[in-house]
Amino acid sequence: MSQVQLRGVRKEFGKTVALDDFNLTIPDGSLVTLLGPSGCGKTTALRIIAGLIKADRGYTFFDSTEMTDTSASARDIGMVFQAYSLFPNMTARENIEFGLRVRKEASNSIRTKSAEILEIIGLEPHQDKYPHQMSGGQQQRVALARAIVIRPKVLLLDEPLSALDAQVRDQLRDEIRRVQREFGITTLFVTHDQEEAMSISDQVGVMSKGSLLQLGTPESVYSNPVNPTVARFIGTTNQIPVQIASHKAHLFDTQYEISPASDYSPNSLKRTALVRPEEIKLNKTNNDSGNAIISAISFLGPTSTIELTMPQGLVIKATMSSKDASMYAINESVNSSVTSTSLLITDGE
Amino acid sequence: MKFVRELLRFTLIAVGILFFVLPIYASSLFAFQENDGSFTAKPLQSAAQNEELMESLFLTLQIAFGTVVLTLLLLIPTIAYLHLVIPGARAWVEFLTLTPLVIPPIVQGVGFLYSMPTSFKATPYALIFAYVILALPFSYRAIDAAFSTIDIRTLYDASRSLGARFITVIMRVLIPNIATGIFGAIFLTIALVLGEFAYASLLLWDTFPTMLAVAGLSDASTAVALSVVSLIGVWILLNALTLFNRRDRQAVPMGGR
């Protein structure tokens, strides 16, 4: 297993700059996810690490060995693609054994290893099936097994779950994490799905337009977004107009500190605070004196979302335990406030 | 290493293209270039003056026209019926229409010669009936594909629910859509007839291809000139076909080899 590093990587495709001065370190044995919308450069970064694309500038390192000019087949990596990557002329087992055969391992060693991984992945009954005889989920399992059985230095997963049904996706997602932990392989996972990223990663790298906005644990990326772009991308946020005076934000008749991650400009006329639904607290009023009216209550099981309409027509959402939510009724006037002491402010529209 | 590959790729493609462009270029020179290097249209002029040749061309064009008309008359109603009433039969009917491909035209021609009544064989226009068969695999597919894309069943049901608007739907949607297929079938058929040799020579008719062969024995330049022109003509026809055909998979006619 190796630590993976990208240093100062730049890649252009014609006029589009896919990556610009991109730096990333994937610690040995950890699972890092690059998260971002289509076109943000995450797949490009992955393919540069794989050696399938050559960067225009910058370096790739596995531990202290420079890999920048090494071909993909010499890098000792394992890769799982979104779909269609199994060799259609081989059975599941033959697919899995392919990498081992290329490495000219002894026959009995190959047989043992493939049998072992088939059991771990739970594909033993399907080992003699051809790809077109298997479901999408089974195929991706085989692809994963094929990539892992060779004990690569780095495991690269390019949106492996995107083409699968929701239920299969969840199962396989946990499977990937389990296997990765068990073998301790340094892994890079690329996806546009937040939930995937947050649930299995040691670290999440949020990307946009060729840059890495923030790299950190799922918790830190969620709770301490380094700028409003990240905050808006991860989870849901309410966008509430605020006033700023003497370095404090005024909202709901309360003064709040301004988070250092804020990026509003001094000249902008309008400012917006980004507030997470779980940070909105409701207080009962006994009359109509509240600052918001409940317009909808959605029961989601353990939690509920309450939709509030402000006097100016703004709609915000608050999330709380269903037990707490049961105290309220539609059209009730309530007092809403924010639980955190500082607000993340950005320019408003 | 990547550069070497690109170079190899480029060379291969270049060599391939050269191999196929060269004969066209060389024969154009042969036909249209004088000994002093200037260009002349004389071969074409002498072709135009060659009465027999022009007559055969006229005959071939007539036969082409007849084949096209008969093909459309036969296939359009049948295919429409097939799609509307018995769509399940489409598979084996398509398979059936491929049978002419399996029997070489020369063999079909011989069989034709020895089965058709003499009175029928006395007219060159008998070739029309034979050519419809030869073109069948391609013309059928062209028209069938066009009908498939418009899902005539849904269209029929939808228009029925609209009542009297049925005729309008036919005019506005059905016809324009299958027009693509119709044009495809027409072009493919014409290309086939213009090149068909086996049948015509067996039945001893002076169609354009057979007369061209005769002309070649005496006047090489004219023959080559016409050959080049007919090649370019087919190219224009097939390009027109791709224009109409968008990106549908197109059947290529095999005629007159």
Partner: protein
């Protein structure tokens, strides 16, 4: 309308095919089993397996296998180079050109090649300028190898035409996955690409073989019947006044052709269907 009765709509087409395809075919069948007197006999079939006719089959066979093999390899390499190149324009251009050339044949083709490689052809003359005498050793364009070269002119484009869609269906993921697993290009070709393509390549070979065997016009126009291929033999027998039972023998030859071409084409169709299960 009941299910059975609804098939009546197909009557015109079926009847037409019966009359203008079925009946001629029946005639071929009938005559091949008859002698000039009209009696039933197998004689025609024994005749065609000997002497001149046997040579004709062998010659046609040789020509078809040779042109099929060469076109298979050359056409495939060319198509592969095309598909992997970045220039879409060239691909489109070559694709339509292949459509034209695959359909080119017979008389125009023959004359064009005479203009190029004939005794006074453009290429022949040009090579003479370098001191290369094509016709010095007795070779002519009207020989077997000459005809082979001409046949390539419509065979290779046919191969390119049918190969392009197949090659485009080759997933880039396969070669990338192979690379990521440490395989060289050669290993990828050997263990993945060729095995996947083999059924279709075999089918294409059969298609090319059938196409070449059935071809008549090119040989007729080029060699004026001097090269004794099966279709040429058939035509000459029909046109001849010397051979009394010429028609019967020709029919037998024809039936033999149908068998060969028919089996080849069916083989091609079957292999095509088999390999379509990989395409989704």
């Amino acid at each position: 309308m009941s299910k059975k009765a609804s098939y009546i709509g197909l009557a015109p087409l079926l009847l037409y095919m019966l009359v203008f395809l079925g009946w001629p075919l029946l005639a071929v069948f009938r005559f091949s089993f008859q002698n000039t007197a009209g009696d039933f006999t197998f004689d025609n079939f024994s005749t065609i397996t000997q002497g001149v006719y046997r040579s004709a089959f062998i010659l046609s066979f040789q020509l078809s296998i040779a042109s099929a093999l060469i076109s298979l390899v050359a056409g495939f390499i060319f198509a592969y180079a095309l598909v992997t190149s970045k220039y879409r324009v060239i691909k489109k251009f070559v694709s339509t050109a292949s459509g034209v050339l695959a359909n080119t044949g017979g008389v125009p083709l023959a004359f064009m090649f005479i203009a190029v490689l004939g005794t006074y052809g453009a290429l022949t003359t040009w090579l003479k300028g370098f001191g290369i005498e094509l016709y010095g050793g007795g070779w002519t364009i009207y020989s077997f190898s000459g005809l082979l070269i001409v046949y390539l002119y419509f065979q290779v484009p046919l191969m390119v035409l049918v190969s392009l869609p197949v090659l485009e269906n080759i997933r880039t993921e396969w070669s990338e996955a192979a690379q990521s697993l440490g395989a060289s290009s050669w290993t990828y070709w050997r263990k993945v690409l060729i095995p996947i393509l083999t059924p279709q390549l075999l089918g294409f070979f059969l298609l090319l073989f059938a196409n070449s065997f059935a071809a008549y016009a090119t040989a007729a126009a080029l060699t004026s019947g001097s090269l004794a291929l099966v279709p040429v033999q058939i035509a000459s027998l029909i046109g001849s006044n010397v051979q009394v039972d010429g028609a019967n023998i020709a029919m037998a030859l024809g039936l033999g052709m149908v068998l060969l071409v028919g089996v080849s084409t069916m083989g091609y169709a079957a292999l095509e269907r088999r390999s379509s299960r990989w395409r989704r």
